[in-house]
């Protein structure tokens, strides 16, 4: 290293130019990639289920049912302290529910309580969004507060059939449901 040929003034100048060019090239690359979003190219973070999620303006019974299910999931997940996504996967099959219960130490009673709370939140959200008239919100709230676990899960999965079936649950008052729902 000490006695390199050509390591005189010209050689040193070339060495400095090379080092400077290397630093410039490295910084330029890093700068361009960071400016293009290199530090934020990560999977999207899941939202806190306890924070309110805006309702998309529903246009049909199916869309109301979907928003209702998502609100119910948020409410239940918030109560259990897990993500909405983890709970949705847990409710997909009985096996997934068992794995979820083992992982988080949540028994059926606790799960049922949380899902009922989630359904109440869904009714509140639907009422607030103007998707459910107050006339129906009250009886629906009372119904979901006592609903058994399996039916509660079914309601989260497919709120459309349940909302459509409110005629049965609510008795004669429910006959007006289809007309009253926007």
């Amino acid at each position: 290293v000490s006695a390199e040929p050509g390591d005189g003034g010209r050689g040193r100048a070339r060495g400095r130019i090379l080092s400077g060019a290397a630093i410039a090239a490295a910084l330029l690359l890093i700068g361009v990639y960071l400016a293009a979003g290199g530090s934020s190219y990560t999977p999207e973070k899941t939202q806190d289920p306890c924070k309110p999620r805006p309702w998309r303006s529903p246009e049909s019974l199916q869309e109301i049912a979907e928003q209702f299910s998502l609100s119910a999931l948020d409410g239940a997940a918030c109560q259990l302290g897990v993500s909405r996504e983890a709970l949705a996967r847990a409710l997909a099959t009985p096996e997934a529910r068992e794995r979820f219960s083992e992982k988080y130490g949540i028994d059926d009673e606790k799960l049922a309580k949380a899902i009922r709370a989630g359904l109440v939140r869904a009714v509140d959200d639907a009422e607030r969004a103007g998707a459910l008239p107050p006339l129906l919100a009250g009886p629906l709230r009372s119904t979901v507060e006592k609903i058994p676990l399996d039916q509660a899960i079914e309601l989260v999965h497919d709120a459309r059939s349940a909302l459509g079936g409110l005629q049965g649950i609510l008795g004669p008052a429910g006959n007006f449901l289809e007309e009253l729902l926007p």
């Binding site: 290293v1 000490s2 006695a3 390199e4 040929p5 050509g6 390591d7 050689g11 040193r12 070339r14 060495g15 400095r16 090379l18 080092s19 060019a21 290397a22 630093i23 090239a25 490295a26 910084l27 690359l29 890093i30 990639y33 960071l34 293009a36 979003g37 290199g38 530090s39 190219y41 990560t42 999977p43 999207e44 973070k45 899941t46 939202q47 199916q62 049912a65 979907e66 299910s69 998502l70 999931l73 993500s83 909405r84 996504e85 983890a86 949705a88 996967r89 997909a92 099959t93 999965h157 497919d158 709120a159 459309r160």
Partner: protein, 433 residues
Amino acid sequence: VVVLALPDIYRDLDTSVAAVTWVLVSFNLVMALAAVPAALLARRIGPGRAAAIGLAVFAGAGLACGLSDQLSTLLVARCVQALGGAAAVTAALELLPATVGSERRAVAIWASAGATGAALGPAVGGVLTELISWQSIFLLQVPVALAAAVPILAVARHEAATGIIEPELRRTGRPHLWANLALAMVSAAIAAALFLLVLLLIEGWRLSPIVAAIVVTAMPLAAILGNRLIGPLVPSSRARAAAGAILVSGGLAGLAFLPKATVALTLPPQILVGIGLSLVLSALTETALGGRAPQAIHGGWTISARHAGVVIGLLLLTPVFTADIAQQRQDAIDAGTAVILDSRVSPLLKIDLAQRIESRLEGEKGKVPTIGPAFEPLPSDSGEREAVEELRSELQDQLNRAATHAFSPSFLLAALLGLIALAPIGLARRIEL
């Protein structure tokens, strides 16, 4: 050369990412430990005989590697192969001056061959893996090694007849500590660059080995360019070493901050790493060998340093990126679930799709899944089909984000190793000037 075959070996031998890295680690570890003793052997029995024996052992072990159907036998064969390789490579440095005319030229050729080989190897391995099989990489080494041994046999016969060349005329000297230390650090970074990039392309972005091989060819091409065009312009090996280490680190940091999962975006970082590795490996090897004798022993030290660096890099980075992959897999599942829940697809189809995707995830046993088939057949209703296609594209985006981000901390750590190499390069200047 084996790097691009690792994903195939990993699948074929039904092992884990951490275990398959030992196909590289075992070879490099034995090379690191055996290089200097192999050089001493070459001095004792003659470089011709040492190279011939080394090549024969390398070929025999290569055959065993190619016939291995278990990870354990493959690892043992790789260790034996490294013993043969160490003997052949260190002896070659003793044989080269007679062939090329001068010791200085021999060192330059030997150093640049090492740098080019390091960069070119993965591409060759990838093509062979895709066109034939991973076993073919090892089986092809057999005729190549035997063909290389043929001209050396004449030298070995001559050594046997005339005795060993004048050992008393040769000086010995201390190995160049700082240059070898810098070589180890920068080799750790380069090994990581090759290993991680290949895993990202094949396992993360699901490219085939041949496409990955074509992609990583950018690195050797840049290395050749750096060797031919930039290296000769700058006579100072210290400046070339420092610039090379900076370029390698800059390229690795670029790979850590990829803004999208696109092959084209890996090219600028690869070019930096390629030019950098050609400059830094050649310069440090020349520095470590310059004015020192016997060349085989000092060459042995550089081989030892380079391969020890590879081992350090792999052992340091493997636990980091395997933990990151597991974390990113979970994040991708959560992000994917959110995408499905918020999509415009009908609720019943959502549940059906979620179950199909879940079964693909389980079927892939922790690897990044190919989710396309989970969406087949597409719904006949045009509105629903459009919503499903949008969902598929968003899910793929989340998977790409997770796979790319999983490698970021490891690339950054590797960049740091490259920067650490600047310390011994700087120390070499202070002490020796």
